[in-house]
Subunit: 293 residues, 2 copies
């Protein structure tokens, strides 16, 4: 039996509909509260601009005010830090994020550290990440992509507790916080990375597999444990002359082969991708709601 | 061939000798810098008092000034937070810790959050824990017991990178930060806990095994991978009428059986225990040194 497809687009749409209703309710109950997201962009990378447009559109749909603060590629660290300080202190702003990546001359860690943890809707500030580790101190804000993946896993109806979960990739945005969220949900997590020596064995044992390494079709079908939940975070562009654009988008997992073995699997595109922006909006809502209490 | 014993007592003594020399050198180079540790004790638990005496003694030996601030069992959260505030702002204090556990009416998380992350020599503040996760942002201060365990593992001469490490127990003091330090050292880490369903399999696969669950002789000898490095964090008291005290101290691992299979193993007592206080002193030194630069 082929794997059930985890439809991130539909799940994300339903979450966004719910969020829109929740925000309308919040505004009605507390007219003084108007959820607002401020975003700082440095430079004009076209991929960043596309992501920002997606966020702007999602904010508008949800009923979240959106303010974009743009700086030239040549902006200094101090320019950015000054703007962050202003937005940290601005009570009308609930969520604040800096679009990554930043130009090379700017230290990302210093920028992220400067954002008030209370407004850090990307969930990347060390104090929020630390609260993912410390027992009984869950942060209000969880990093968007792993938070979205937890929703996708829960949507399958499987029990997470007691399952073996393998996370491939230990990046700050997905792999590392993903391993923490899965441990908090009582899975037994193995975190794999470029230095892992027997990665296939770790993948074969996974009841829940999350792959976030950015290598097209890396995970083979026969590495998948039969019935596993497979979450593919990869977004890789491979040449394809049959497409008008000249390329097609594939994940880190060989979807055709894996979907014959897995129990549930996310497609690429349309799996994890649509969840991230929805979760960002949810984080803005959570901050606005907690600030109104 | 029986396992080589990892002599925590000797390794800790050699680190303490080195630290004493380093501190003397720091004081000579910068006479204005006088490393100082402040400790807050609430109540009069006898085990806490014993640990505090150990810390006081180790500080004296290392050349670290020590100040003990004692509060009655009935102290309020505000009493403790006010004292923390004073010590956070006192430039003569480099390291500040609150002896755990606290009386039940005081929220430990709020107390730990109040300690300046720069003086948090226990390494338990969420921002310091978060920096263990975020790539390329290692905190100045690492939690004492896991930091000591890394020294013990390194003392065996094995290569950590690429090894399978299983950590049993996900507590804030040992298991959770241990898994982060081992991942940073490029091991592939599986973090097991009370909800893990096939714990023996995870233990059997471990090239490096760290057990911190507080259950006497839980890990059996035939669960150990031949040649593994076995770190036993347990300190359990079992009745023993042949002892004058009426009990003996055993670890979480069946030492007699495991030491026939492992490559290297820590004894209990005399393994992990002596390292923790030495690492605490090292953390005070690191803060004092960085404050002098």
């Amino acid at each position: 039996m082929p794997a059930a497809v985890i439809d991130g687009k539909a799940i994300s749409q339903s979450l966004r509909d719910q969020l829109k209703a929740d925000i309308a309710k919040l505004k009605e109950a507390q007219p003084a509260v108007n959820p607002k997201l401020a975003l700082i962009q440095v430079g004009t990378r076209s991929d960043s601009s596309s992501y920002i447009r997606l966020k702007q559109k999602a904010a508008a749909e949800a009923g979240i005010e959106f303010a974009l603060h743009q700086f030239p590629e040549t902006a200094t660290l101090n320019d950015i830090l000054s703007q962050i300080q202003i937005l940290n202190e601005d009570n009308s702003v609930h969520g604040l994020l800096v679009q990554l990546p930043l130009p090379e001359h700017i230290d990302e860690a210093l920028v992220i550290d400067a954002i008030s943890p209370k407004k850090d809707v990307d969930g990347l500030h060390p104090v929020n990440v630390g609260k993912l580790v410390v027992r009984g101190s869950a942060p209000l804000i969880q990093p968007c992509t792993p938070k979205g993946i937890m929703e996708l896993i829960r949507s399958t109806g499987i029990t997470i507790e007691g399952k073996n979960a393998t996370v491939v990739g230990r990046g700050d945005l997905v792999g590392a916080p993903m391993s923490l969220l899965l441990t908090s949900a009582n899975a037994t997590v193995t975190l794999c990375h470029t230095k892992t020596s027997d990665i296939v064995d770790h993948i074969k044992r996974a009841d829940i597999l999350v792959v976030a390494i950015g290598q097209a079709n890396y995970v083979q079908g026969d590495w998948i444990k039969p019935g596993a939940v497979v979450i593919d975070v990869g977004m890789n562009y491979v040449p394809d002359s049959s497409k008008k654009s000249g390329y097609r988008t594939v994940g880190d997992v060989d979807y055709a082969a894996a979907s014959k073995v897995a129990g549930h699997i996310t497609p690429v595109p349309g799996g994890v991708g649509p969840m991230t922006v929805a979760m960002l909006m949810d984080n803005v809502y959570l901050v606005a709601k907690s600030s109104s209490q």
